[in-house]
Symmetry: C2
Subunit: 382 residues, 2 copies
């Protein structure tokens, strides 16, 4: 680690690659061959391989969860607030692993990768992947790293759904599941927001039925709208009020359709910067994975039945200002875990910023994670 | 009225037109000449012109508030639930007037009208209009009808904002203001939703900077997205759950991007049917009028000060499941009216359906309106 990075950062990191030799059988019935999983690790795996923590990314997250990719990078990984030396997920004690998900962009195999079947970009031919598909691929990564039991699997939002799926799918291969700002399945309203985002993308004339890369273009307008819409749902109304109020950018109404209110300026900026670093086909796949997540479906909508095989201890965390996946949704998980007789802790964090709080530094939240992870460290001798 | 219509409907109605001779000076500093106001009336004005009620439309509403436009029409006016013989706004007792707002579509002068200055369609050159501009135009309509004092001015959502503006602007020209499911100004989140709807429209390649009619096209994709997004905000999460749950249209996941969940099907239908009956430039103008409404702005953000001249008695109604303009927002109006020493009644209706409840038939709501309107009828001898 160079002196240029903060002392509590893992510093300079580089992604690694695992080629999966076997063919993956996906939930959709299709198969993927020659997949590559891109991942990063922080800290050292101990001799008994007991101190590994798997981090699962959310919709726009990838394998770069902490540290910096170059000496002059100003932008650390997406969970830099929580991962690093002395931080709650302490890289001095834990071996932290984070991989990007199948279907992602500029990481693990996805729509922008070459389809070995025909030598062309996958594009829209990339199969619809599920949270369970991801968890199975993560399990292969763990095996390749010599990890037979994770000290914990953790994630927020869509990442929290993966942590929950881990506990269901591989009950004896993790000690703890940290399920943060998640839900047991999307509500009709959640699906509706995703559907509008998808319609914004696919109705963009530059979408070309998903083959925009071949045409040297991209559905930038659609992806921008999708991201703007997402942003509204990540932020609480009160966070928006605190951040922007009804402040006018020029101090007065201009009676036109240029940016007037600060919040408009912010949204347009968020939308524009997203399209430079994200792929539209990936956005479609990620929203579908969200829509499809519903572990109770195979158990006649009985969530406790879906949880019946869980052995991991679960920590469920929600945020009072999160209206995308409100605390009620986390309590559904908690209630079903209790009904199934499982070991669960639940914390509802008083917060202001909405769904995005899971990435931020609310002191109670950070302290909760620190305490809980300290307990895990003691348990596994880390 | 023919036998073909329900007995409690005003039956067959026809829009009427008023050409405003004088030039209107708008809030934006521009002027409009030769404006036409399109309106409908139901019931009879009494000899003392004391029984007139003005109905103010919401974003997608127009002058057709009640009754039917033809004998084979199946679709009545937008507030048919409340207006008609024996209904809360009883056309046997009241003379009910509803005009479409300036900037509207297929009604009062708007972007699809001819600009007398150059003989071309206004299109994007139509000025940005405000709630106050509308209220002033409605006042000219009232004068032309011989109404010097309305028994009540009533509306929901954007219509409720007009009712409130009436009480501020023309204090001695209305007895009652019925402000339903409204807010004293939009929140940053409300503005953000409007901004995304606008961006969806203006980023549609068929928008042509608003001159799509001249090109024989329309930004249908953008307007469809805007409407879909609006719909999410009109419906409560629980209403969506009750209406659609996570029901799959084909009973199973199809692992593709066609419609899968019922809610997707519903939203696409709502979006598609809207573009056939609404105009994109009008949608832009209506959302701006919403964003700009903020009577406290001219009073250093002191809402009570903005209300200081009000003489009308106010009825404020909110719905518990409305998250677009939540009850808290109505209570801001009520608290400021009380602080200003005004006569105000407030009812928060237990409801399930969200913002759209103001158009629907929740029994407590209908009964409340009936009782309140009976009181007005007694007061004015109607």
């Amino acid at each position: 680690m160079t002196d240029e990075f903060p002392r509590d950062s893992v510093g300079l990191v580089a992604p690694q690659r695992l080629t999966i030799e076997q063919t993956l059988a996906l939930d959709c019935g299709r198969e993927l061959s020659g997949c590559e999983i891109v991942y990063e690790t922080y800290g050292q795996l101990n001799a008994t391989a007991s101190n590994a923590i798997l981090i699962c990314p959310a919709l726009s997250g990838d394998h770069h969860a902490a540290g910096y990719h170059s000496n002059d990078s100003k932008k650390p990984g997406w969970w830099e607030n929580c991962i690093g030396p002395g931080k709650p997920i302490d890289s001095n004690r834990f071996f932290v692993v984070c991989s990007s998900n199948l279907g992602g962009y500029k990481g693990s195999t996805g729509p922008s990768s070459i389809n070995p079947a025909n030598g062309k970009l996958y594009g829209p031919d990339f199969p619809v992947v599920t949270v369970r598909d991801w968890v199975r691929a993560q399990n292969l990564l763990g095996q390749s790293l010599g990890i037979s039991k994770w000290a914990a699997v953790a994630g927020g939002s869509l990442g929290g759904m993966q942590a929950l799926q881990w506990a269901i799918e591989f009950p004896d291969q993790l000690r703890h599941a940290l399920v943060i700002a998640a839900a047991p399945k999307l509500s009709a309203q959640n699906i509706a927001f995703n559907e509008i985002a998808r319609q914004a993308i696919v109705s963009d004339p530059d979408f070309h039925e998903g083959r925009y890369e071949e045409k040297g273009t991209a559905p930038r307008r659609g992806l921008m709208l999708a991201r703007m819409l997402g942003h509204i749902t990540y932020l609480s109304d009160s966070a928006m009020r605190a951040k922007f109020g009804r402040e006018l950018r020029d101090g007065k109404l201009n009676f036109g359709f240029d940016v007037e209110f600060q919040v408009e300026s912010y949204l347009r900026y968020q939308g524009r910067s997203f399209v430079d670093r994200f792929d539209a086909n990936t956005y479609l796949l990620m929203t579908k994975a969200l829509d499809y997540f519903d572990p109770a479906r195979e158990h006649s909508d009985d969530l406790a039945a879906a949880f019946s095989g869980i052995l991991a201890r679960c920590l469920v965390v929600s945020f009072t200002s999160d209206w995308r996946f409100a605390s009620e949704r986390s309590r559904e998980i908690v209630d079903a875990l209790i009904a199934a007789g499982k070991d669960v802790s639940y914390a509802e964090i008083e917060s202001d910023l909405g769904h995005d709080d899971f990435l931020l530094t609310q002191p109670d939240y950070i302290e909760l994670l620190r305490t809980y992870l300290n307990g895990i460290a003691a348990e596994v001798g880390a």
